[in-house]
Structures are given as C-alpha cells and as structure tokens.
C-alpha cells in the first residue's frame, strides 16, 4: 500500500553523506544504505532503523508535475528540486518522515504531506517529525513490524 509525501527544495542534496549528516544532526536513528540518491537513482532507497529495513521509494520529479497533481495547493513559489517519496509499511513511513525532515532542514525547503494537506517549513517539519515518529513507533508496537 502506498502513501506519498514530498520535499520541496531550492537545491538538490549533494549525496548520501550530505543527507546522512542532516539525519544525524537531528538525532534521527536512520542510516541510509543506498550508494546514490535521486537524480542519480530512483526507486527504493534502502535505509536501516534499529537494525530493521526502513527505506522508501524516492525520485526527483518536476515541480510542474506536483502543481498539476495538487492544483489547489499554494506551494509558496517555484521549487527547482522536488523529491517525491512513496512508502507503505509503518517502518517505511517512519523512515520517510525522518528523511524528508532532514532534507528540508538541510536546504531550508518545505515538506508536503498531502494526506493531511500540510505544507511545512523546515522547523515545522522537525516539530511534526518529533510528534509523528513516536506515535508511529507506538503503532508499530501495536500492529507488529510488518514484513521485512
């Protein structure tokens, strides 16, 4: 099952190590395991959290496509770099929220969660992640970790 979210950025991330630095700076327990990030790669980006798979699908998409998909949303300007994330399991959802937050914090971008219609600044995204991740972890404890 797939949910989606977006990171709207003024510039692309430099690479895996750049992204990992952002995750570590926020204290997020997520290790990116891919060797490349979009646009050099697309599809599943492996990641580990507490020793378990917590990766997600990620691709670079044109901003025009995001605007076409969500015509009623004001994205506060034009964004040259939009990372799209797809995720399904609870573990993937947690990984994606952490990765999106680190991404927008690094480049001062915006996080977009269409399920909730939320467009968040970098600082708001950090607060959102700090509230959402523990709640999702509690959900994971209740429902089980899901398939590896």
């Amino acid at each position: 099952m797939s949910m989606e979210a977006y990171a709207l950025c003024p510039r692309p991330l430099a690479g895996v190590s750049d992204w990992q630095t952002g995750l570590d700076a926020l204290g997020f327990d997520l290790q990116l395991r891919g060797t490349a990030i979009p646009p050099a790669s697309s599809g599943h980006l492996p990641a580990l959290r507490r020793g378990r798979a917590s990766g997600f699908e990620c691709a670079l998409i044109p901003f025009s496509e995001l605007k076409d998909t969500y015509p009623e949303t004001d994205f506060a300007g034009s964004w040259p770099c939009v990372y799209a994330f797809w995720f399904g399991t609870i573990a993937e959802s947690i990984g994606a929220v952490m990765a999106i937050t680190a991404c927008v914090k690094l480049v001062d971008g915006l996080a977009f969660y269409p399920e909730e219609g939320r467009l968040l600044t970098a600082d708001q995204a950090v607060r959102y992640a700090r509230e959402t991740v523990p709640a999702a972890e509690e959900l994971e404890r209740q429902l089980g970790p899901g398939p590896d």
Binding site: M1, S2, M3, R33, G34, T35, S41, S42, G43, H44, L45, P46, A53, G55, E57, A59, I61, E65, D68, T69, Y70, W86, G88, T89, I90, S93, V97, Y113, P114, E115, E116, T132, A135, A136, L139, L143, G144, G146, P147, D148
Partner: protein, 211 residues
Amino acid sequence: MRAHEPDVILAYSLAQLRLSLAFVALELLDIKAGFRPDQPRGCDGRWCGEGGSLTVIRKDRTGDPRIDAKTDEILDVLNEVVGSTEPGEGFLYGTQIHARLAARLRELDLPGIGRHGVEQSFVAGDIACHGLSGSIRTDVLLRDGRTSAAPIRAIWDIKTGETGLSPRRIRALRAGAGVGDSVPIIEIHLLRGISVKGRVSVTVAIGVVAA
C-alpha cells in the same frame, strides 16, 4: 380433509424453506454492507464509534469480469479493515489503514493475488526482494495463475486521499512490473468523510497515459 394433508405439509415445508432462504439472504446483505450487530449506535439509531462502513461514491469498471470482481473483493476487505479501525484521518490513520489492509490481504491469500501479490517489489519487470535498492513496489496485483511466472492481469493502488496517481507514477509502476499499457492500474481511494462513515472511489487507468 385427510386427502389434502400431504399438500398442506408440502406447502408448510416450502414456506419454511422460503423463510430460511430469506434469512440467509438477509445475512448476506448484512455481510455485504459491513453491518455488525455489536457496533454501537447513537440515540438516533446511526452507527457511531469505530470506523463504520464505506460508501462507494464512484466505481469505474475495466469491463473484465474477473478483474472487476477482484476489485469488489478488495473493497470488501478495505471495508472490513476500516470498520475495525478507530476513525481518523491524516498520516497516522493512513499508515494504519495501509498496514492493516496489507496484512489482511496476505492473510486471506486471495486466488490470483496470493500472499506475494501484496506489496510485491520489482526491478525492470523482474521480481525483487523487498527493500532492494532501486526497486518499485506495487500495492496489489492479480496474476493469471498462482506462480510468479503467470502474467499480470491488473494492478491496484490503494490511496488514503483524493489525489490520483500521476502519469509518471503509473508509467513507473508498469515499467517496474514489466507490463504494457493494456494492464489496468486501478486506484482505490479511501476518502475523508464528514461522518464516521468513510467514502471510497475506484478509478481505472488503461492504455497509454499522457504525460
């Protein structure tokens, strides 16, 4: 009078049979509607609390009876999952519905879908391990048989929101699964309702998707 007795007994038996059939039909309607006698009701008699059942507001068909019947089966399972989940909306609710639906579909092991047809990962048309770098994952897919070599007939994408798949995503799913434009991508959207009852819509993408 005694001569008519067998007729009376027969008529009585037939009436009893008809009544039994009517009860069975009623039970089936209740199951189809997602009715549960233990679900709490408000003073106005409406269901309250828990997830309620789904109202289908739109249901596109592919015209293929086997695929359309499978869509109905998936909708029934989604209805069951929503009915047994605390009502809500947003990211955590969506996460919960997706996780529960995937688990339930695997548990049911539906013909043509099986356990592996739920959240199957692919790379360029080949089945891949879940979590493999660069892989694309479909939500639910139907095959023309139980083996992984059987051709894929349809792909379902379940969304907890109104927004549809972008043409790019549809192309990526087809390319990942290694199927052509003739394989329908069927989107099932669980929408936010204004009451405890959810709404659901089904849309179908067949053929070439314009960028």
